[in-house]
């Protein structure tokens, strides 16, 4: 195949793959990134060897704000690596196709990522491995162009490591390894280059790690992984595998120069299959990413649309759904008409639900102190990012801490492509009174209207919400709505009925929502108290269909021998799947971490 044709195919494949399946992931990377040109920010990257890659990665990640641009950049960089491979390894028209394999594995590195991306400990990890391998092959390219035929070529190998290790980290050493490999292949200058690479490849990281005054803040245990986002792999080794495959495939390229058609097809197919099977296709993960983008622009309809599609949702999706319903004024009306559940997060890494969704969930349900706390805690433990600063800025605005809000908004403003957000919220700094008329803040203020101190046990995001709302004294209908929703989720019938009776007269009967009516009917029904049932029946006289349905449910429940058989679950789901009753009897284990 002509070189330009294969390049075009590769670009098209990358773009399609990234834009169709991973657009939200790319955007998400931008939100969990931070970049600005302040000297002290830039300098931080050079406190560890290989910092230039993270810095360049953080810079490029900004472009992922627009997934199309981010995907194009990724594709171009991956193609650049291929072109370098072709040139450096002198690949012929057939083996040229094999030069794409390292790029496929780097693509897999991106598409393989799962929930662990919420807990990024390294900036720029989307691009830094690509840039790292480009620099490794680039080092080899320099060697081949200027020093290959020189007797003193090993001096270049010897210099490359001490000079470039601070910038590219272990990729500089990998570059030297590639030089040695080419020397072995060509049977020239092997021993001098090998000695230089081994000696300095070992000595330079050791010296950087252990000598005082070179790197004060180096994590010396990982000196041989400098430049690689190793912190991401500590408890998620699977994500590291594509990088190992990339390295191995690059090491193999010098020996595949004259590969035959069959071998080429076999290797390419294997690589593509690995990409296909290795890619993270988890529906819930992608749904969460989409929901988060929708939450960030308060597109609650989109959140609900996504919630409707999730058959076995995680608690994150359920929490986002509840936010959307609240902001649509339908929380207790419709919350049980959507699929519910507590599916495990599909990741081998330890990623607590609370670390993923605490900022938006707590903010949009009015628990702003807890939102601020969790945003701070998570960003301190992992990376400070636009995402967390945005919530911290909004919390500071709503609490009237304008100097603090300005500080956060200023740092967000230094990131490219955030102008729209910055303009919107900076406007409130200059005109705080406009917050009173803003829909976002208008929905939150009633939720902050507490009576006295409210203890936040702060164990997990959902438990925080339970403890926060459940015991509140009646303050206003917005808080009451959340309170009833939380009591229903926890299946706390007694407290629910108590709150219902206490505040029944506060709203006209017509405003009793479907969810509350269903719960009231259930509580009365399972109490077996005739008097209570009669009272409830009179209270729900405008909800006769609910009472009638509940009678049907009760009859079905009484005649069922085992509710937990798949047939029973299916039967009840078909008839009562969109009611609180189904949630009450069939959805269990909703504890989230």
């Amino acid at each position: 195949m002509k070189s330009w044709k294969s390049s075009l195919c590769f670009i098209a494949f990358c773009l399609a793959f990234l834009l169709i399946f991973k657009a939200d992931l790319l955007n998400h990377f931008q939100q969990y990134n931070l970049f600005n040109f302040d000297g002290d920010f830039l300098w931080k990257f050079f406190e560890q060897p290989g910092g230039l890659l993270a810095l360049a990665g953080a810079f490029l990640t900004q472009f992922c704000h627009y997934p199309l641009v981010g995907a194009t950049l990724t594709a171009i960089l991956l193609l650049s690596l291929h072109r370098l491979n072709v040139k450096v390894f002198s690949l012929n028209s057939l083996s040229e196709l094999l030069g794409y394999i390292p790029s496929f594995f780097l693509l897999l590195f991106i598409t393989r990522l799962d929930y662990s991306i919420y807990l990024q400990k390294t900036y720029g990890m989307l691009f830094s491995p690509i840039l790292g391998f480009i620099s490794s092959v680039g080092i080899l390219a320099l060697y081949r162009k200027f020093f290959e035929k020189c007797r003193w070529g090993f001096v270049f190998t010897a210099l490359v490591i001490p000079v470039l290790y601070p910038l590219f980290g272990v990729y500089a050493i990998f570059g030297a390894v590639l030089i040695v490999l080419v020397c072995i292949k060509n049977k020239s200058n092997v021993w001098t280059n090998l000695a230089a690479a081994v000696l300095l490849g070992f000595a330079v990281p050791m010296l950087c790690a252990n000598l005082d005054g070179i790197y004060i803040r180096i994590n010396r245990h990982y000196a041989f992984f400098a430049g690689v986002p190793y912190m991401e792999f500590v408890d998620n080794f699977l994500c590291f595998v594509p990088l190992i495959l990339t390295a191995v495939s690059l090491l193999g390229l010098p020996f595949l120069k004259n590969a035959g058609l069959k071998l080429t097809i076999a290797l390419l197919t294997a690589a593509l299959l690995l990409v296909g099977f290795g890619t993270n296709w988890d529906y819930n993960f992608h749904s969460v990413l989409k929901m988060e983008r929708a939450v960030s622009v308060q597109d609650w309809d989109k959140v609900l649309k996504l919630a409707r599609k999730a058959e076995n949702p995680t608690r994150i999706q359920v929490l986002y759904r509840n936010l959307a319903l609240y902001h649509k004024g339908q929380l207790t009306e419709k919350m049980f008409s959507y699929p519910d559940g507590a599916a495990e997060l599909a990741t081998p890494a330890y990623v607590p639900v609370s670390f993923i969704c605490s900022s938006p969930v707590l903010y949009y349900c009015g628990m702003i102190n807890t939102c601020e706390r969790m945003s701070m805690e998570v960003s301190v433990s992992y990376c400070k990012s636009i995402h967390f600063y945005k919530y911290q800025a909004k919390v500071a605005l709503i609490t009237g801490e304008f100097e603090l809000a300005q500080k956060y908004i200023n740092v967000i403003a230094k990131n490219w492509f955030e102008r729209k957000w910055v303009n919107r919220y900076r406007n409130f700094l200059n005109n705080p009174s406009e917050m009173d008329n803003d829909k976002e803040f208008a929905m939150l203020r009633p939720l902050m209207d507490f009576d006295g101190l409210d203890m936040d046990l702060g164990l997990t995001v959902e438990k925080s919400m339970f403890s926060h709302f459940s015991e509140l004294n009646y303050t206003n209908e917005y808080l009451y709505e959340w309170q009833m929703a939380m009591l229903m989720i926890q299946k706390r019938e007694y407290l629910f009925m108590q709150k219902f009776y206490d505040h029944y007269d506060r709203f006209p009967q017509g405003k009793i929502t479907t969810g509350i009516a269903q719960t009231v009917a259930l509580c009365a029904g399972i109490s077996g108290d005739r008097e209570m049932m009669a009272t409830v029946a009179s209270m729900l006289k405008d909800h006769t269909s609910i009472l009638r349905n509940f009678s049907n449910l009760a009859k079905a429940l009484n005649s069922s021998n085992d509710l937990q058989t798949p047939e029973s679950v299916k039967w009840f789901k078909e008839r009562f799947g969109e009611t609180y009753w189904f949630y009450y009897y069939f959805i269990n284990g909703i504890e989230s971490n």
Binding site: D38, G39, D40, F41, E47, Q48, K121, N210, D212, I216, R217, I218, N219, R220, H221, Y222, M231, V234, P352, S354, F355, M367, I368, N369, T370, E372, R373, M376, E377, V378, S379, V380, S381, Y382, K384, A396, T399, E401, E403, L404, K407, N410, V411, M448, F450, L453, D454, M455, D456, G458, L459, T460, S464, H468, N593
Partner: protein, 522 residues
């Protein structure tokens, strides 16, 4: 190429030169706004250049600093004063004044703001200050750094930082650094969590201490080195932290119990100083002569509680007063507690007593309740005249936000304190001159090479402590001791004093950070 470089050099020279024509400027009635506010101060004669930014509108700006000697003329609005010229000016004006004149160019005309003057005190400030840089979080501390800063310039040096630790999960909470008598030869700090302990550095020797022993309720918490003896007074505290989801004050930390103990650095022996189960005793601090120990004490019987019944709703009723006990360095015996500042009587709560090195004054952090003043808006500094026993709020420096931790310079003329006055969240260090008449002067923020660093840095400054000299230990040396040495165990010389059953170690709440940390999902 040469031509290009010449052009570049010319452009650079032009942009760096001070504009001309400003001397004929007309007076301007407008108020001058500079950040940080470095106007009308008393400054140390050995402080780093006090760089600032002129915030008023200007097409061009010139700042002239005049005093004895050659004036310094600089281009604004970002005023970056060369270190050597600044040092020379301070030396020439020691005990005198320096006048700052700001000129701005608007619409082609030069205008001159009213001058401001800073007095240069002949009393120097200690050369170094050590502080912890940490996000104002609550439980997590992944990016914590313990830093020593030279005050005569901008040099910062890590004492210890968490990035040396292999895995984040093993990272430690470094806290409560303390030096003996302003010398960096002997110091200590605690490292909590895995491989934690109390690091005790004594010259070129260091050890990690496993402090908790006998019936002590926790590891060592708040320290104070005896000024001359091989002794450290510690509090041991069983502390809890709670969060409020709605209150302006987001969290509260309070003790369920606390006592004071004396630790012998040479023998590793520990004994109680005070352990009254009806009082919480904490924040010990030695008087400069080493014959008195000040501390904060709360009488919990005042609101009908005892050490087993204190619960969160009561935490806003706990009020501390400042007490003292005498100490005989020969016999190592303590006298009986004396009241120094009965803050609780005025419904106030006074903690962190700090006597001035000249022994004349005592500074306390005072809030409306409790001991966690860093999060209390009501927290202010109070000054007790130890000769008259009179206490007053140090209004010269206090703000509407939390003004909490503080330290005296070794000559008693300078106070450094932490305050949230800038933005309500990120504490900053402010310095103030304390004159011989017992009056503090207008405080100013710790100078930075780039004054906007204060606006950009998303870390809080904690626990500033002065020293005269630099810590010689490197972070890697300290890491070796902390992570790779076996801890030395202490021995308790005495048991419960007042006959009450003490909490056994397994029943106690452990140290402060452990409790906080364990409350957070990991």
């Amino acid at each position: 190429m040469k031509r290009f470089l010449l052009i570049l050099a010319s452009v650079f020279a032009l942009t760096c030169c001070v504009p001309s024509g400003y001397r004929d400027a007309q007076p301007l009635a407008e108020e001058l706004i500079v950040y940080p506010d470095y106007t009308d101060l008393v400054i140390p004669c050995n402080i780093a250049p006090m760089n600032f930014i002129v915030k008023n509108e200007a097409d061009a700006c010139v700042v002239e600093i005049q005093g004895k000697g050659e004036p310094i003329v600089l281009k604004g609005p970002e005023v970056s004063i060369p270190l050597d010229r600044w040092k020379k000016a301070l030396e020439e004006n020691k005990g005198g004044e320096m006048t700052f004149t700001v000129y701005v160019k608007r619409d082609g005309s030069w205008l001159r703001f009213a001058d401001f003057t800073n007095a240069v005190a002949s009393d120097p400030i200690d050369e170094y200050i050590t502080y912890r840089l940490i996000e104002p979080g609550y439980s997590n501390y992944g990016q914590l750094v313990l830093v020593q800063r030279r005050l005569s310039d901008f040099k910062e040096k890590d004492l210890y930082n968490n990035s040396l630790i292999m895995e984040p999960v093993n990272q430690q909470c470094i806290n409560c650094h303390s030096f003996q008598n302003y010398s960096a030869e002997r110091f200590q700090f605690h490292a909590r969590e895995k491989s934690g302990g109390t690091l005790i550095v004594d010259g070129d020797k260091a050890k990690k201490l496993a402090f908790k022993t006998g019936d002590l309720i926790s590891n060592a918490v708040y320290p104070s080195w005896h000024p001359s003896e091989d002794l450290i007074a510690y509090s041991v505290n069983s502390t809890v932290q709670v969060f409020f989801s709605s209150d302006r004050q987001r969290l509260e930390a309070y003790d369920l119990r606390s006592d004071l103990v004396l630790y012998d650095v040479k023998t590793d022996e520990v004994k109680y100083i005070v352990n009254d189960s009806l009082h919480f005793e904490t924040f010990p601090y030695w008087a400069p002569d080493g014959k008195t120990l000040y501390y904060a004490s709360a009488d919990i019987t005042l609101f009908g509680a005892n050490s087993k019944t204190v619960v969160t709703p009561m935490c806003r009723d706990i009020r501390y007063s400042i007490c003292s006990v005498s100490f005989d360095p020969q016999t190592r015996e303590f006298g009986s507690p004396q009241m120094v500042f009965d803050a609780a009587l005025d419904s106030l709560s006074a903690v962190t007593p700090r006597p001035s090195p000249d022994g004349k004054y005592l500074l306390s952090g005072v809030g409306s309740y409790g001991s966690f003043h860093i999060w209390h808006d009501s927290a202010d500094l109070y000054l007790t005249d130890l000769t008259t026993g009179q206490t007053r709020p140090l209004d010269e420096v206090n703000s509407d936000d939390a003004d909490s931790f503080k330290a005296w310079s070794s000559n008693s003329r300078w106070i450094v304190f932490t305050t949230r006055r800038d933005d309500g969240a990120y504490t900053r260090l402010y310095l103030t001159y304390f004159d011989k008449d017992g009056r503090a002067h207008k405080p100013f923020i710790l100078p930075q090479e780039d004054p906007e660093q204060n606006l950009r840095l998303f870390k809080a400054y904690n626990v500033p402590e002065f020293t005269r000299d630099e810590v010689k230990w490197s972070p890697k040396d300290i890491e070796q001791i902390l992570l790779h040495s076996e801890p030395v165990h202490t021995t308790q010389l005495d048991g419960p004093k007042d006959g009450e059953v003490q909490n056994s170690p397994s029943q106690s709440g452990g140290n402060v950070e452990s409790d906080w940390h364990s409350s957070f999902p990991q």
